[in-house]
């Protein structure tokens, strides 16, 4: 119970503590949630469910091993966000601390709730803090970009709301287990529409190809911490929803109908994102398109709804969180120190800041999915799965490896090497080194021993019928 409610408590407490210890409070409180959830995982039997019931009518919680993975990921991301922004003014703001914890609460709710309406409520709840964070701390000179982000997400979520209502009416059930057991085959085409509503919401969040236009601008205008929250954990809600809720529940006609459209969009995203990323001059925009490319791959592979692929997809989800925190932190560091993110105006940082150069390099390699990092396992198996489904798809998906190398190496090489344009560059603060180190260790550990994660998750992934 403390697992879920702790962030909410912190979010309320954050308004009342003196502002000079806000920064330390945020760090310690997020560390507490991380420790609590780690301890809970240690005592958790992977094949079981942890039921939490507050006596609410529409919202109940049940944590399985996939839920625990996501809880750990969320708490770790929040902790890393606080840690990596320790030297920035943003963590000194009560508002940010409170909103970040509120966000954590919403995310934990999404990952642990057991009822479909609860899923929707928490999904929307996360919009509130991210909107305020982006608005207060981002550099949106005009609210247009922010409102665009909202237009897309709201449209998606309202479509999902209709689907939730339709699903609850059609099955007369609301809990996850009951929905899994419910027979949707009698619904016929209606189930295709219902699934479409969910998919629209997810496609906006992931984002899939034609719905991605909010992404680049929001990422670049958002504060670094906001970008981290968005890309490292908020987008994972959609993949999680796809993996845990939509695919198992709509297994059958609806999934068969949507499989190839979504895979096509995902693959278009993979290629398009990578090609656009190569042409970018702004570091954050580049990483935003890289993110589009990576997530398209995960979404496409998830649609295969194949038991082994789903396990690997979880690895890749975690890996993407690691990569996006690391890369956006690097971009944030460069921007904070130099005031620009334009690749053309950067150069020779490696000579001035060797420690930064080292850690950025490690993260670049993780992102490139070189062997012995989590990305290698993830991408290799996901591409293999797509390849066995359809050779052309697999081939197109595999271009991410080559194109990824092009844009990542460009993103690394341009600011780091070449003529020294930026003579003064303050090297990394200990908190930033700690973040990079944690991320790298996690990525390499997952790369060496992915089975610890896949086996843990396997208990709660539903076995597909075919």
């Amino acid at each position: 119970m403390a697992l879920i409610l702790l962030p909410l408590v912190f979010s309320l407490v954050a308004w009342f503590i003196p502002s000079n210890i806000t920064r330390i409070f945020g760090l310690i409180a997020s560390a507490i949630t991380l420790v609590v959830s780690s301890v809970a995982v240690c005592y958790f039997e992977p094949s079981e469910h942890l039921l939490i019931d507050f006596g609410l009518r529409f919202v109940r919680f049940s944590i399985d091993s996939l839920g625990f993975t996501m809880i750990l990921l969320t708490n770790a991301v929040i902790f890393l966000v606080f840690l990596s922004n320790f030297k920035r003014s943003i963590t000194n703001e009560k508002r940010f601390t409170a909103l970040a914890f509120l966000m954590q609460f919403g995310l934990l709710g999404v990952f642990t709730t057991n009822t479909i309406l609860g899923f929707y409520i928490f999904w929307e709840l996360t919009l509130l803090p991210i909107f305020l964070i982006l608005y207060w701390f981002g550099s949106f000179d005009k609210p247009r970009a922010l409102l665009q982000f909202f237009l897309y997400t709201l449209l998606g979520s309202l479509a999902m709301l209709l689907s939730v209502i339709g699903l609850m009416h059609a099955t007369n059930q609301q809990t996850y287990e009951a929905l899994l057991a419910a027979d949707l085959s009698s619904l016929g085409n209606t189930s295709i529409f219902l699934m479409g509503g969910f998919l629209l919401a997810f496609a906006v969040k992931i984002p899939l190809f034609p719905f991605h236009t909010w992404q680049a601008e929001t990422y670049t205008k958002a504060p670094t911490a906001g970008t981290m929250l968005l890309s490292a954990i908020m987008l994972k809600m959609a993949l999680f929803g796809l993996l845990k809720w939509v695919l198992p529940i709509f297994d059958g006609v609806a999934t068969d109908f949507w499989r190839w459209p979504i895979i096509t969009l995902g693959i278009i995203g993979v290629v398009y994102g990578a090609v656009v990323a190569i042409r970018q001059q702004d570091l954050k925009t580049l990483f935003a398109y890289a993110s589009l490319s990576h997530l398209g791959l995960i979404a496409a592979a998830l649609m295969l709804n194949n038991f082994d692929t789903n396990q690997i997809a979880v690895v890749q989800i975690v890996n993407h969180s690691i990569v996006s925190i690391g890369l956006f932190l690097a971009a944030g560091i460069i921007e904070q120190r130099l005031g620009t993110r334009e690749l053309g105006q950067l150069g020779g940082i490696a000579k001035v800041a060797p420690r930064f150069a080292f850690w950025f390099a490690v993260l670049t390699f993780v992102s490139l999915s070189v062997p012995f990092t989590a990305g290698f396992i993830g991408e290799f198996f996901l591409i293999k799965a797509l390849f066995s489904a359809n050779a052309l798809t697999g081939f197109l998906a595999s271009t991410t490896l080559v194109l990824g190398a092009v844009y990542m190496l460009k993103a690394y090489q341009a600011p780091m090497f070449g003529p020294t344009i930026n003579a003064t560059f303050e090297d990394l603060h200990w908190s930033e080194i700690a973040v990079f180190a944690i991320l790298s260790i996690a990525a390499i550990y997952l790369g060496l021993a992915p089975q610890c994660l896949t086996d843990f998750v396997a208990h709660s992934l539903p076995q597909p019928t075919h």
Partner: protein
């Protein structure tokens, strides 16, 4: 019925107390009357009312009376500052509001169309007067006259509809009309035209397209204090009346009028929200937002056996009152949205109350507005799925109207001049915020 008697007596008392020119006494009397009416409605089931024989006419559910009384109390407290400033007439204003509330309660759940019409007039006439309380302002006078003429016209149409129904069925009693219509009379031209006239009258009262045109001008001309009352109580009473009349009397012609209602819903929502987008005056924005919300409320008619409107109207009333209170605190004279810039920073309570109210209106969980919208759509969506889809698209536009307002309110200003709220305004904002959050109870 007891509630109406209590309200009426406290209104009369208030008139006498008002002669003392002590606004505090007036508001205490009025508040006690409202609370007493609410309590009486709550305990209605437990004892036999001396008015039992008349009460048969008005089987009003206690919950609706309590809601109407609470909303009126909030609106009264929120506007107290304005009413107080004119201490010669404070007692009169409160008496007018209480009398009008009597009409709202009679109208909300009628058993008899004649009684319903009387309730409607009792509700409307004090409001015609209240709209004109800014005696020095020509816009207020214009609004009052405009509201009076259009309102009387709508009443006449409604009365004509009731007359036609009487002609078709030979009764004013809702049950009798229903049973007469059920045997096939509803297909007679007289009954059909009667029902259309009734619908037009109702649409006017709740301010939905195509009879919305009075809304913006009247809301704009009325003062904030009156706006709090008329944009909430009138709509709540109107929507309950339309649910009762259409849900009961015209139950058999459901297939005939539901398409019409769907068109009204879609038009109201799109028109209201799209037009609200470009407003620069706060009260006009509230007017267009209320047109759109009137459209949403009509969803209650889609499922006549189970209209989950209560939460939605509560959430709408709470948010609207909170916003208008804030508006009356920041700009009572100019009413320009430009003055809203950065107000969340000028008083933390205003900030919190506004964020909650606007997110609630936009329908973001876990606030009251979401649960209201959810329960409405929950019963309506299976009956009118396509309208529900269109309505959701419209609510995205609506969310933008509210978010734009919020963005401007949250913008950090260069200089912060604190806003001073009076005690009762603080009370109203705290209560509305708590209640908006309190919807969590329903999960």
């Amino acid at each position: 019925m007891d509630s109406i008697v209590i309200l009426f007596i406290s209104g009369l008392l208030g008139l006498f107390v008002g002669m003392q020119k002590k606004p505090l006494f007036s508001i205490i009397i009025a508040s006690l009357g409202l609370i007493g009416a609410g309590v009486a409605a709550y305990f209605k089931g437990s004892y036999v009312s001396p008015f039992a024989s008349y009460a048969a006419f008005i089987p009003t559910q206690g919950l609706v009376i309590i809601l109407l009384c609470t909303v009126t109390l909030l609106a009264m407290l929120g506007g107290y500052k304005r009413y107080k400033s004119d201490d010669e007439h404070t007692g009169d204003y409160f008496a007018l509001i209480l009398f009008s509330l009597c009409g709202a309660i009679i109208m909300a759940q009628p058993n008899d169309l004649m009684l319903f019409f009387i309730g409607l007039e009792i509700l409307s006439i004090p409001i015609y007067v209240l709209v004109g309380i800014e005696k020095g302002s020509s816009r207020s006078a214009e609004a009052a006259v405009k509201y009076f003429f259009t309102g009387s016209f709508a009443s006449a149409i409604l009365l004509f509809g009731i007359g036609l129904l009487y002609g078709a069925t030979g009764s004013f009693q809702i049950i009798e009309i229903q049973s007469n219509l059920a045997i096939g009379i509803w297909q007679s031209p007289m009954a059909i035209i009667g029902s259309l006239f009734l619908l037009a009258g109702f649409t006017f009262k709740i301010g939905a397209v195509p009879f919305h045109f009075w809304g913006p001008d009247v809301y704009d001309g009325a003062s904030n204090a009156v706006l709090m009352y008329m944009s909430t109580v009138v709509k709540i009473a109107g929507i309950y009346a339309i649910i009762n009349v259409f849900g009961q009397v015209f139950r058999d012609s459901y297939a005939f009028w539901i398409d019409l209602i769907c068109i009204i819903i879609v038009l109201s929502m799109f028109y209201g929200y799209i037009t609200a987008w470009k407003q620069t005056s706060f009260r006009r924005l509230i007017a267009y937002s209320s047109i759109a919300n009137a459209g949403l409320m009509l969803f209650a008619l889609a499922d006549i056996h189970n209209s989950n409107i209560f939460l939605f109207v509560t959430a709408y009333a709470l948010s609207t009152i909170a916003m208008v209170v804030v508006n009356s605190a920041v700009n009572d004279d100019t009413d320009s949205l430009a003055n809203w810039e950065g107000i969340a920073w000028r008083n933390p309570l205003v900030g919190v109350a506004l964020v909650l109210a606007l997110f609630s209106l936009a329908g973001i969980p876990p606030l009251a507005g979401f649960f209201g919208k959810f329960s409405l759509l929950w019963s309506a969506a299976p009956h009118v799925p396509y309208t529900a889809i269109l309505a959701l698209i419209a609510s995205v536009i609506g969310a933008f109207v509210y978010l734009r307002l919020m963005i401007s309110a949250l913008k950090k200003p260069k200089v912060t001049l604190p806003i001073h709220l009076s005690f009762e305004q603080v009370l109203v904002l705290v209560l509305t915020s708590l209640a908006t959050l309190g919807a969590l109870y329903f999960i």
